[in-house]
Amino acid sequence: MTPTAMKVPPRFNIMKTRELGIVLALAALVLYTTINNPRFLSGQSIRDNLLNTAILAVMATGQAVVVITRNIDLSVGSVLGISAFAVATMMSDHPGLPMIVAILVGLAVGAAAGLLNGVLVRYGKVPALVVTLGTLYMYRGITYSWAGGSQVNADELPPHFLNFANANLLGVPWLVLIALVVVGATSLVMRNYRVGRELYAMGSSPQAAELAGIKVARNLLGAFILSGALAGLAGVLFAARFGTVDASAGNGYELNVVAAVVVGGVAVFGGSGTVWGAGLGALLLTVISSALAVLDINQFWQQAIVGALIILAICADRLVAVRIARSLRKKDSHG
């Protein structure tokens, strides 16, 4: 084996094409839609798409981290709901509170919800699917009984809170900026920091992670707290963007979030995929739904297309895995 032949990292190339695939799909979709309706690429349309992506991308980031550890968090939709309702109620009762307090409270509510998920998964030794399915109903139930049929309307909220969704920093909306920071920072931690690699290791082989002395409990709780906190943050953004919040806010969101993560190339069995891939997945799903609207395609098709994308993503993972196995075997036999 020559040194140069050894340097070819097959996984990296293929992984690259995995995220590249999403970018290409996105480009093709935008191109096709724009040809049919040039307004699709107008400033307002781009802005809407990015704003709609922001909330989904924030939640997909937390979800991706949890899925990478071979778990899942189905409660994020309900956490968004409880956080949105809590923050909206707080802001209507105390209109003087600055935005940063709203954000911190949202994060805290979500983190508490995530902590409960993590504790039940780790110490209750119950699969995450079951735990978070349970808390999905639980958190939603709490929100319903708290709201008691009432809702917080936009006119009850202070203007600085509502303006936050539309305000810019150097032309970039705050929502988009927050999503970018969340996706970027988390991607960086997952890629370049020890704790990130440990999370990948835990998903790749839970037994080996225990034997390697990785602080599995701490990391797992951390992953669930992150997912919860980001869902809580998404709740604040949701309340600021839509103004009207009732107990059903974010109902069914968890499926969009999981879909974004899977389409974004995070393996459902953990251990591989990237956070920024999940962010791209969120963008792709958002652009698809707005493109279908622009193209005047029945919106019922949207669900079928998202479903097809999920299946395609998983098939692509299988295909890549088989191809890696084959290329490695070939390399070994010549080595």
């Binding site: 084996m1 050894m6 340097k7 990292p9 097959p10 996984r11 990296f12 370049n192 920091y193 020890r194 690699r197 440990e198 990948y200 290791a201 998903g203 790749s204 082989s205 037994q207 080996a208 992670a209 225990e210 034997l211 390697a212 002395g213 990785i214 602080k215 393996a267 953990g270 251990g271 591989s272 890696i324 196995a325 490695l328 075997r329 070939k330 390399k331 070994d332 036999s333 010549h334 080595g335």
Partner: protein
């Protein structure tokens, strides 16, 4: 040698799992600069000792003393921090992560921003591989590595932590002679630098070669701790088993019958080339050679698990359909794979389910499986093989390594094959069980079964085989009869010029 103070001391430790006492009152010291062997039959409690030292299990009573101080390890992280590195029997790698990341996990080199320094990480991995004399790409994922390569990564991982105590639970089981020699050279240099080594192996020649002191265990109890120089191998075996082992290789001479299997010019590009041999009824043919010579791959192609590019396989005169294990099974061929955890058994299923799996169709009535027929078939074969088990409905994963191997054998013997292919039949099992497996193979051959055995253990090859086909780099290097075969002649053929040089 500093006899005065032990680096690590196991003092009167006891550990029970439920009602089963795995380890009872075992004590022994590990000295710096010394390799210490831990021997015992499978189920003697060696792995439990390892897991206690690794912090996976905590002793019920008794203490561990590190450099004279009592220590308790709450988890593997504590043991690691105390400078104890463990190479487990079953590789514990992260398949999705790169080889370099696997090695560095937990103590990755960091840049000033506390990020992982990938360049340094890859350099470390390359340095360790150079020291071990292996060619592995540090950037490739661990998924898809052969068992031997996985074991080498494990070894590199243990070396990277610069441990004061290195514990190796059968590190050589999957390695070839050359790789073992390299590993021993590295272990010796670590030992001479003052590290304490705990070495577990079923190969006595390795123990006498590497170790100064040996602790013998039987049924969870401590039998003796002595200097290796004071003991003969026979002494060790006798104390381990508690009885004399009359013959380790009870080969019965059999008049070979008609030709059962004919392999002619079998080729798979890049793996093996032009492999030809035949096997008669009642004969045991061994495929010998170094790890990576293509032995298992040839037999997998014969059985139809892997494809081949050219050549023919005939069984009882009829050409066997390539690439179809089902056809091979229908013709009367059984294959007992090397990696029993991954390929041979379904760990979560019960013993009886595992035994009857290949025959499930035949046992089914109206397409449904009823417990009775299954249990009966499983009972017959597990009893014939003297498998030690609690209940047939227990999960296979709860059995010890040797007994798992017996279940794999039972599974395939229950199909009533005419040709049995066994890949490393006694890898990782103790001498007592080994002798039983050998006796069984011998008596099966005497009953007219044709046996092909792939084995890395020379004594086994020489002791059991009627004929030996030696492969080197995917080609037949020599075919030796029982009379011609000696340790030298087989190794010479397997390694080619390397021995002469």
């Amino acid at each position: 040698m500093a006899e005065a103070s032990a680096l690590l001391e196991v003092q009167d430790v006891t550990k029970s799992f439920g009602a089963v006492a795995a380890v009872q009152g075992v004590s022994f010291p590990l000295f710096g600069g010394e390799a210490h062997a831990l021997v015992g039959e499978n189920g003697a409690g060696k792995s439990t000792i390892v897991k206690m030292l690794a912090g996976v299990h905590q002793p019920d009573t008794g203490t561990l003393r590190l450099a004279g101080n009592d220590v308790t390890f709450a988890g593997p992280a504590d043991a690691k921090a105390a400078g104890i590195a463990v190479i487990y029997q079953e590789p514990t790698l992260f398949p999705d992560l790169s080889v370099a990341e696997n090695i560095a996990m937990g103590n990755q080199p960091l840049t000033r921003l506390r990020q992982i320094d990938r360049k340094a990480m890859h350099a470390t991995a390359e340095r360790l591989f150079r020291r071990l004399g292996v060619h592995l790409d540090p950037t490739r994922p661990a998924r898809g590595l052969s068992i031997a390569d996985q074991q080498l990564v494990e070894i590199a991982k243990a070396l990277s932590s610069e441990a004061r105590v290195l514990i190796m639970d059968e590190p050589t089981a999957a390695l070839s002679a050359v790789e073992v020699a390299r590993l021993f050279a590295v272990v010796r240099s670590l030992r001479d630098e003052g590290a304490a080594i705990l070495f577990i192996s079923h190969r006595f020649e390795e123990i006498t070669e590497l170790c100064q002191r040996v602790t013998i265990m039987r049924d969870g109890k401590h039998v003796a701790t002595e200097l290796v120089a004071d003991l003969t191998v026979d002494d060790m075996i006798r104390r381990m088993v508690g009885r004399d082992l009359s013959a380790l290789f009870p080969k019965q001479t059999v008049e070979p019958g008609e030709v059962m299997l004919e392999v002619d010019g079998l080729t798979r590009e890049g793996v093996f080339r032009d492999v030809s041999f035949s096997v008669r009824a009642g004969e045991i043919v061994a495929l010998a050679g170094l790890v990576g010579a293509g032995r298992s791959e040839v037999m997998q192609a014969v059985f139809g698990v892997d494809p081949y590019d050219s050549g023919t396989v005939r069984f009882q005169g009829k050409r066997l359909k390539p690439g179809s294990p089902r056809a091979a099974m229908a013709a009367g061929i059984a294959l007992v794979p090397e990696d029993r955890r991954q390929q041979g058994l379904i760990m979560e299923l019960s013993i009886e389910r595992n035994v009857t799996l290949p025959r499930a169709r035949k046992l089914a009535r109206l397409g449904l499986l009823f417990g009775g027929a299954e249990r009966e078939a499983a009972l017959t074969w597990t009893q014939k093989l003297q498998t030690k088990l609690g209940s047939l409905s227990d999960a296979v994963g709860t059995l010890s390594g040797g007994n798992q191997q017996k279940v794999v054998l039972a599974k395939w013997l229950a199909t009533g094959p005419q040709l049995l292919i066994v890949d490393e039949p006694t890898r990782g099992i103790d001498v007592g069980t080994k002798a039983e497996v050998h006796r069984l193979m011998s008596s099966l051959a005497a009953d007219g079964l044709a046996v092909v055995m792939v084995s890395s253990e020379l004594p086994e090859v020489l002791g059991m085989a009627d004929r030996i086909v030696v492969l080197r780099e995917g080609r037949v290097a020599a075919e030796l009869t029982r009379a011609e075969a000696t340790e030298e002649s087989v190794m010479y053929a397997a390694m080619g010029q390397e021995v002469a040089a």
